[in-house]
């Protein structure tokens, strides 16, 4: 591990080589603490606060600004997430193997990432403006929401900063695919590549830290709604039946005749993705 990170550091003349204790805490310990809090918090909330698990939409109060700002923010964010996936998960060697030059990759990353980032930032700024200026929406804003907005906006701003910085630095810009990305992937095999991350510039450190803070508070804010994004809507039947006595196919107990005639579990009439409490309890 050390050898590989040192090898990488040679490509980064002028950056710190020494791995300090702070680096170990920040890039070796904190990510795992973050995951524990995130997963534990989500499980806890899913078990004990289903009722609070909602988008807490404020569209009822105000729709004109929301109609523009919310899709702008959300779709922008989806693009940002996709960009993070490409940048962090897919190794540089792979894109080079399919013949994608570094320049081409970066040009794409900057243009697409920049547009997505600016859209997301514009969306959230408009949403915050709306939240502050529309009386009922501001009334419905909790302290929890405000904290979340600060962290979320900071994560977006710092992220955009790293992107824009590389635009202005041009050829001499920092290649995060040689520092942040290997560190990110190394976390999953429990061999954190501390040296690689330590070599990244401050802006990336800041963005990563704020991002981890965002994931730490995630389960305890309204952001949880993202984890129940309703993709199963694409596959579930339109009409949902629930019963007290129900087998897995949604048939009523004792409805043997219906089952034998083959009419029971037709599409549109069978069980859906949301499991009943009774099936959980029995």
């Amino acid at each position: 591990m050390l050898a590989s990170s040192l090898a990488m550091l040679e490509a980064e003349p002028g950056s710190a080589v020494v791995i300090s204790a702070l680096d170990i805490v920040l890039w070796g310990v904190l990510p795992y603490v973050m995951v524990v809090v995130l997963v534990g918090g989500l499980l806890w909330r899913y078990k004990y606060d289903q009722f609070g698990w909602t988008t807490r939409s404020s569209q009822l109060y105000e729709s004109r600004l929301l109609r523009i700002a919310s899709p702008l923010f959300h779709f922008g964010l989806l693009a940002v997430i996709a960009g993070h996936f490409f940048g962090l998960v897919i190794p540089m060697a792979w894109t080079q193997a399919v013949g994608m030059s570094q320049e081409f990759y970066h040009f794409n990353a900057l243009v697409v990432g920049g547009i997505a980032g600016v859209g997301t930032l514009g969306g959230i700024l408009l949403l915050i403006y709306r939240r502050r200026t529309t009386g009922p929406v501001f009334m419905a804003t909790t302290r929890n929401d405000k904290t979340m907005y600060v962290v979320l906006t900071a994560a977006i701003v710092f992220g955009l900063w790293t992107t824009l910085a590389s635009v202005f630095e041009g050829e001499h810009g920092h290649n995060y695919r040689e520092t942040v990305a290997p560190w990110f992937r190394s976390l999953f095999v429990f061999q954190p590549d501390l040296g690689a991350m330590a070599a990244a510039p401050f802006s990336f450190h800041l963005h990563t830290l704020v991002g981890m803070a965002l994931f730490v508070i995630w389960p305890f804010t309204r952001l949880v709604h993202a984890f129940t994004a309703p993709f199963h809507y694409l596959f579930r039947p339109y009409i949902v039946y629930r019963s007290r006595d129900r087998d897995r196919d949604g048939n009523r107990a004792g409805a043997a005749a219906a089952r034998s005639s083959g009419t029971a579990a037709r599409r549109g009439w069978s069980a859906v993705g949301t499991r009943d409490r009774d099936t959980r309890n029995r």
């Binding site: 806890w44 078990k47 004990y48 606060d49 289903q50 009722f51 698990w53 909602t54 988008t55 807490r56 939409s57 404020s58 569209q59 009822l60 109060y61 105000e62 729709s63 929301l66 109609r67 919310s70 899709p71 779709f75 009386g135 009922p136 009334m139 419905a140 709604h225 129940t228 309703p230 993709f231 199963h232 809507y233 694409l234 579930r236 339109y238 009409i239 949902v240 039946y241 629930r242 019963s243 007290r244 009523r252 107990a253 004792g254 409805a255 043997a256 005749a257 219906a258 009419t263 029971a264 037709r266 549109g268 009439w269 993705g273 949301t274 009943d276 409490r277 009774d278 309890n281 029995r282």
Partner: protein, 576 residues
Amino acid sequence: MRVMAQMGMVMNLDKCIGCHTCSVTCKQAWTNRAGTEYVWFNNVETRPGQGYPRRYEDQDKWRGGWVLNKRGKLVLKAGGRVKKLFGIFASPVQPELKDYYEPWTYDYKTLVDAPLGDDFPVARPKSLITGEDTKITWSANWDDDLGGSAEYGHLDPIVEKVRRESEDKIKFAYEQTFMFYLPRICEHCLNPSCMASCPSGAIYKRVEDGIVLVDQDKCRGWRQCITGCPYKKIYFNHKTGKAEKCTFCYPRVEVGLPTVCSETCVGRLRYLGLFLYDADAVTAAAAVTDPQELYDAQMDVLLDPNDPAVRAEARAQGIPEDWIDAARRSPVYALAKVYKVALPLHPEYRTMPMVWYVPPLSPVVDLLRDQGHDGEDVGNLFGAIDALRIPVEYLAELFTAGDADRVTTVLKKLAAMRSYMRGITMGNDPDDSIPEAVGMDGQTMYEMYRLMAIAKYEERYVIPKAHVEQAHDLEEMGCSLDFEGGPGMQDSSPFGEASGRPVPVAVETFNALRDRQTSDEAPGETTLRGRVNLLNWDGTGAPPGLFPEKAFVPEKQAAPAPPPAPAPSSRPGEQP
């Protein structure tokens, strides 16, 4: 054939006097909470009128319900699954608060607290949303009794449509106005478009009785159901961020009690009972091409509970015997399918609504009477129904997708019943030509009269109880032993008593009702469990039970039961 049971309601609009008692009692029971200030699970609209939320019937704008696509398949009017998911970040056509109304209260405190001055203090209206001073401009029944109809009447979507077709025949000149009241609750549809619109799958139909409910734990506030429901009977609780809707008062219905709106209806115009229907036939019935044939299709889905084959199939599918028996005695089945006088509201939405309406004959009778004719004479009435095309066309847009002949047939039945029974009451021989003129026999007409005019409590409400052995599980779908006092009950979870699963309300209601019905004591003794009823408390002193007992006191247990309300003279000093 898949036989299922469905609780249904019929409202006899002739009897509705627009008193809003149903709305008020429903609100007190269900939506008297923060976040639901603007919500009326039950509301009463004056028709013609815009309704609540305003112009909800304008589906070109609100895009509720189902439509047939080019290939004749049933699709949601607001778009398919993919389109809905793409529109999830800002629901494209969700009504805003201003389409309902901004709820308000009054600053009553000023009336008593204002300092002495030259001016009388006034209680200003305060918005319940912002807390600021507000100007009241609309409410759930702002155009009640045609208030403002001279100005707003043309905004009624049905008036618009009928006018387009009949060239301005609906006049709002005061002397020519007709009106009636339309109480509305959730339709508990067989083919609910709200349910189909819900990305989370949180809205479900109970297999046992067909009541449509929102799982408050599974709802994530995506708001698509509000668009999906063409009747706009799903509401967004802006405090909890969850969808809420009429529950058909399931905790009452499960123990055999009528819904609150039915129970408190002063006109006694609501009927509750069971339908048996063929669940496998619903989708095909909702997809018939001609909207005016939807009524017939819906009729065909309803099964005859007197048919032995239907009963045998129902039994085979696990419907309890007493439910099948209740279906045979069902007043809603009788009114909808036997007498065929109850019609579904807006069948053209293709949701197969299960709250039915007997269209009002009153505007016709009133008109005849005002013109000096005998409003009870069958010849006059039949003639008037035919002549009064405008109300009939209006009713047809509401109940039969515009098929005026169908409404005329129903109104003629009602008119015939009126004349036929008047003859009998006057001591004449029954004139069987009258029922024959509307395709009925004298006996059937008399039975219909019994059900509609005498309308005894036990004939209006035929509600089979949920089975005791199943009652625990019916709602909340919880573990049957996991209620208060049950063996599965844990006093508190690791995260406090309020976390985890709520006590099933059906169990509480069931136990409370059983206690009330089997107790020798006055109500309140057992159900209040030693607590004091604050409604009867005069505010002085602390009657026993105002605060929870610190420890078990044997003397109190042995003492005779105190009167349910503390006597007005009781003072703290007089307490033992």
